[in-house]
Symmetry: C2
Amino acid sequence: MGYSRRDFLSAVGVSGGAGALFATMGALGLAPSAEAAAKGTFDPPQPSDFSLTRRSAKKVVILGAGVAGLATAYELGKAGYDCTILEALDRVGGRNWTIRGGDRVTELDGSTQVAKFGDGVYLNAGPARLAQWMVTMDYCRELGVDLEVFTNSNAQAYIYHQSMPAPVRWRTAKADMYGYIAELLSRATDTGALDAALTAQDKERLIAFLSSFGAVGDKASGFRYSGTSRRGYSLNPGAGDQPGTPLGSVPSLSEVLACGVGQRLSFEFGYDQAMLMFQPVGGMDAIPTAFAGKIGRQRIRLRSKVTRITDLRDGVEVEYQDRHGRTQKIRADMCVAAMPPHVLAKTAHNLGTEVQAALATPSVASAGKIGLEYRRRWWETDEDIYGGITATDLDLATIWYPSYGYGTARGLVVGYYNFGAEADAYAALNPADRRRRAIEQGMKIHGAKYRDDLLSSVSVAWKLQPHIEGAWVSWPSRQGAYQLLNEPAGHVYFAGDWLSYMIAWQSGALESARKVVTALHRRVLSTS
Amino acid sequence: MGYSRRDFLSAVGVSGGAGALFATMGALGLAPSAEAAAKGTFDPPQPSDFSLTRRSAKKVVILGAGVAGLATAYELGKAGYDCTILEALDRVGGRNWTIRGGDRVTELDGSTQVAKFGDGVYLNAGPARLAQWMVTMDYCRELGVDLEVFTNSNAQAYIYHQSMPAPVRWRTAKADMYGYIAELLSRATDTGALDAALTAQDKERLIAFLSSFGAVGDKASGFRYSGTSRRGYSLNPGAGDQPGTPLGSVPSLSEVLACGVGQRLSFEFGYDQAMLMFQPVGGMDAIPTAFAGKIGRQRIRLRSKVTRITDLRDGVEVEYQDRHGRTQKIRADMCVAAMPPHVLAKTAHNLGTEVQAALATPSVASAGKIGLEYRRRWWETDEDIYGGITATDLDLATIWYPSYGYGTARGLVVGYYNFGAEADAYAALNPADRRRRAIEQGMKIHGAKYRDDLLSSVSVAWKLQPHIEGAWVSWPSRQGAYQLLNEPAGHVYFAGDWLSYMIAWQSGALESARKVVTALHRRVLSTS
């Protein structure tokens, strides 16, 4: 009835002998424990793999110190592989990039910004959130990266569509939308319109559910939705004779439907977006920083831009330009190319025309963010918004309130996080104009303080980031090119979120790295 | 249309001249800023109040160092009132009680437990969560108490009803319930059953909303709900050829309705319970600790049990038993009794029979909690649950996973937080039997590790806590006794969450304290 034990075991990833396990435990009078998550298995390479097989760890050159490249070096390093990472930027992490005061943001159009953020204030310019089921969480545990909640949803944040005269809090929009659908479905159920689908008992239970779900009236009232304290209060409940004043003037069903707030409500249902979500304390770059520490900084050559990849009969040679502009070569047994496909596609190689065509296949997506540092946390003090995201149909798309530093003095709001054409439009502006536009738009929601209390800002257009040149990619299909690049080309493997079903997530990069590490290690162990 | 500017201004608490303000700002081309929250106004007493009126601050004795008593002393202290707090316990905070390793829990039945928790592990035995709109948040800011998210809802946590063969994750239950109601309402709408309530445009918009809300099929499929990735995956999306395996075997509508999971889903809509919620970093007692620091510890007499309250013609006298068992008296101009009403009702006084009857009017509620410290965070490592609450119809009611220490070694789970008869049933057991029962019940959800990995436990039955003797109270009505006690009895004022519309919340105690402080201060300023 409802949810089966099989579902449960499946949900918690007990595979194979789960039925037998449960039967045994049941016989012992024990409920089954959930001993594994819904994760693929991964056995990291170990030194003993070599001692047992009388083989030895190989030399591997890894192209790119983004999350995939770092994880590859980290996992191979566990078994003693001699890894070297070449990274074009002067930092590790790739798109995992936390910008702090003093950091420079240089874009391909030549503009340079220097962040002026105060101590402890940062912008996660790239990835900013982790879902609990993602392997990224396990790496944080393994690497000792502290976690805190990332506030992906907040009932106190707003929804604002330009057709609306004013923003509305998520809690209010939800109460109204759910109230009206409960009213309508209760009526349809009660009048027998759904009798073909519902038994008498179903009907009774459904109406009981809808009463709680929508806070609607009883049958005598026509199951009428007439507002609820869930919408919020214009004056909060207090002491003595102050029961509070619920927020008034409930819009009509037609009004609620017309303004389109309902379309926002499914965001928080997504497997990858549902709360709770998490972030490393102090900035997302705690992850690459921890990886680099484990790998050893001496294995990572920064400001080393790959210029040619040559697969050889018995290994691979990579040519690169070092930090002094000199051409260098590195020879290894294997290579893992953990760079964006569109950047690899511009790099000379001898991997063949099919590989070249495959690298050029995915289309590159745009995304942009601006960090707005404020002298005071007006979203908390004036609007009781502690974290979360305001969703809009303005070209800024979303405004993010910070998930750290609650109640402190300064704070950083993400003034836009947008994609596609909207990101391209901001990318086309110089940093000052981007800020001007973001402020002008955001004032529609937050008023003059959105401009007046601003201290500083930094914006990033991912298509203009040197050596990255895009936010993420998308594939026309998972056949052909995607499959080809998920196999090695000679001694060259490819890794990255772009070779996973979790594109634009660090977990995709990590899973891809694990897959490549497993394949490479098996090959090394199976060849003499 | 939809949400009016008036609603918005009301929601953010702009009162009075909001319309005019907006018109003015509109004329300037500015959106209105939201300059105040939906909070009652409070002007703390100031020294200048006295210098301007040539009056002087009075001596005030405050009974009880719970949140109401502490806030009273803190606010009066701002203007220079000479406050003394008498507290029967050997700590401040009252029901705001954080239990750490080494703390003793002694109950009225004579049992004593000593907490063995490891460093950094704690149980908030009383209040544990703050809503963003509550004045408690402002006090945290003012007092310098650091905040972090309290994980009141988590899509990864479970719902478990005994009629179900297995627990189900909140995300799965929600996806199924919403999927089916979207299917049903889409069909009723499409077949014209609701034409009396919906225009053609409403219908089109409603069906579009339901498609996104429920992830249901199109009209050709009969708007069929057949599962969605929102339910979760039995094997997560990964790299290469692993798109992931969505969680299978979707239960039927009848099954979903029969198991009653839907009734849980409105919990997270409540104005007081909707996420985001917050907690002080390191334990809820950071709030009373900070208050006590500001007030001055020398003003707080611990282990001082009030034995008699005597209202005098020109002040008040309070008799108490000090830490050495000696009877002491304290004389003051005013008194604020910030003790539970049922404890006050057992204290000798001369405030009259009406006051006595009023103090005995509210009924006292039970609640209990057990903290279970585990040697490893199996909820994170094995089940991908980082915080949140599992809801059950077992007598444990809810299981809470910790909102701090993610990814560390040990952790503390709240094994029950229950009320009423269920709390009384656990209260009647000795601590070892409470633990045994909590473990036996919790194993139905989490299996043998729930028992095997346990390190230590501490349980609290609030009705058995000395000098507190209950979790909170409820009033038969807000007339009569409630109103009477919201006025002073001679020179004695009453304060506490029990005199507010936010019973069982610290914000109720704080608002009540503010109300009493305001009234007392006005009286002092208006009398010669």
